[in-house]
């Protein structure tokens, strides 16, 4: 039996050290490098001299109307999809937490949307959305529900709604998974006691489930918002950001700067802006939920 020689502080830090080192190497240093790039005039052009240019890149992207509209699109996309995914995910988690017939089947299929790679999923939906021979229109027309060939990805703002639908379809089950894990930590006797006191289903939800689910909701909200705000493969594969840039997200805009136009300086600036905004969002969430920190 080994006595604990180290005090709490050292021990705690030791356990965290390995992952800290890895995260510093893989995430922190490249982040610093990118921040540095955003303050420079980096270019691949032959014979170019690298210089520090302060906030010039940031000024230039904010005066680019395409950047501003990409930012607006991203905000709208994030807010709407996260809210709907959370709501639907909560309902799904509540359902899955009970025993039902077909529950095994549901539990298995619920992860299918999420198991598909985003880009492939988007390409498939794009084909299903095809107005002239895609599954959705042909079924709707065959069933006589409409005679119009809806241009799902070719109209503004319908294209954005379609894209949001794909995102919600894909990720609601992920939300359900996170919330379900949280649901299972709630002791059953709490519910029993409430039932004895005569509390109905809804007030049990409000007074017991939701408050105790706060950590999981926060987790789901935080990570899902971060992902939605950085959505790239979905618009890239589904709409190329069209029609006329109406579904272009910040990440797609940043991708173009980096890898299509080879402007690593402005691309880095876009990434930094994304980073700052997500940080603000995260702080906002944590403030609201007043997490139990210690």
């Amino acid at each position: 039996m080994v006595q604990r020689k180290l005090n709490d502080s050292t021990y705690g830090l030791l356990l965290v050290a390995p992952v800290f080192i890895i995260v510093v190497g893989i995430l922190f240093l490249p982040t610093l490098y990118t921040i540095g790039l955003s303050l420079s005039n980096f270019s691949f052009l032959k014979g170019h001299t690298l210089r520090f240019v302060g906030f010039t890149n940031f000024v230039s992207i904010f005066s680019d109307s395409e950047f501003v509209s990409s930012l607006a699109n991203t905000v709208v996309f994030t807010v709407v999809t996260v809210f709907l995914e959370l709501s639907i995910g909560l309902v799904l988690a509540l359902i899955l937490n009970r025993s039902f017939a077909f529950m095994g089947l549901l539990r298995t299929t619920i992860l299918f949307p999420w198991a598909l790679p985003t880009a492939l999923n988007a390409i498939i939906w794009r084909w299903l959305f095809n107005p002239d021979f895609g599954f959705f229109n042909t079924i709707l027309i065959q069933l006589g529900l409409t005679s119009v060939k809806t241009n799902w990805l070719g109209e503004i703002p319908l294209s954005m709604y379609s894209m949001m639908t794909v995102a919600i379809w894909k990720t609601s089950s992920f939300m359900a998974l996170i919330l379900l894990t949280g649901l299972q930590t709630i002791p059953g006797d709490l519910y029993e006691a409430a039932e004895i006191d005569g509390a109905g289903w809804f007030s049990r939800l409000r007074k017991i489930t939701l408050p105790l689910l706060v950590p999981s909701i926060l987790l789901a909200l935080l990570f899902r918002s971060m992902d939605a705000f950085r959505a790239f493969e979905l618009p890239f594969a589904l709409t190329e950001g069209g029609p006329a840039g109406s579904t272009q997200t910040l990440s797609l805009f940043g991708y173009r700067q980096f890898f299509q136009f080879l402007k690593f300086d402005t691309g880095s600036a876009v990434s930094v802006v994304q980073f700052v905004l997500i940080l603000l969002l995260g702080t906002f969430y944590l403030r609201i939920f007043r997490t139990e920190n210690e």
């Binding site: 709490d8 890895i22 299918f112 598909l116 790679p117 949280g182 059953g188 997500i278």
Partner: protein, 280 residues
Amino acid sequence: MMQANLFGRVISLIAKYLFVLFLVVLFFFPVAWILLTSIKTTGDIYAWPPVYIPAHPTLQNYHTVLFGSKLGRYILNSVIVSSLSTLSVLFFASLAGYSIARIRFRGRHLLLMFFLSMSMFPQLAIVPSLFIWFRQIGLINSFMGIVLAYTGLFSPLALWILATYFRTIPLEIEESAKLDGCSRLRILWSILMPLSIPGVIAASLIVFIQTWNEFFLALVILSKNLLRTATVGIALYPGEYAFPWELITTATFLAIVPIFALTAVFQKQIIGGLTAGSLK
């Protein structure tokens, strides 16, 4: 009175069944579409009026993909990379998650915020710098390299999930173990982890699936033909303009079979089994 009640109950039961069935169909239909397309001939895929279920299904596509391309190898690579990454993340994240959740040390909140904020940076921007650096230290075209990268990328989320879950386990269990003389690590591995199976499985699945589907880092770091992962391998089928649905749906279906197998095996652990709150 009784009859109305019974009737109401039956209706609500049927409604519940239908609803669940509806959900199953909703989540399953693109996968069904992929499967159906993979057994169609080219003519059926592009047929008008559309052919939903082929009258003459064919396995030709599977033949082409399995024997005419390296997909089998790519899927094996993905299995290796994702498994190693998951194990690696679980190892590092559980240590850190336990520490942050249970050990009172100065700066633990700050550390959690650090990990969280680091995972917020747009990944695309990191790819070039990671590549340049990995090239310099010789980690290109090595599974070790990609597993290291994925560990960095996905540890924060796993850490957070595990820490959140650890916090919900009653302190008394740990206290009594300490009194029995268990070391910290022993508590973690033998007591906390088994009690946190839902959280562990959730975190593992998340990491496994995300590393399985990750594209850009895998494209750049594993750029030898034989090292390609499935997701990158499937990207080799489309041409500049042509898009061979026959091959892509087949390859996609084959590539997600391992994931389906995993979720089918573990769905009980994640969701059923433990009734809410019975933590022994």
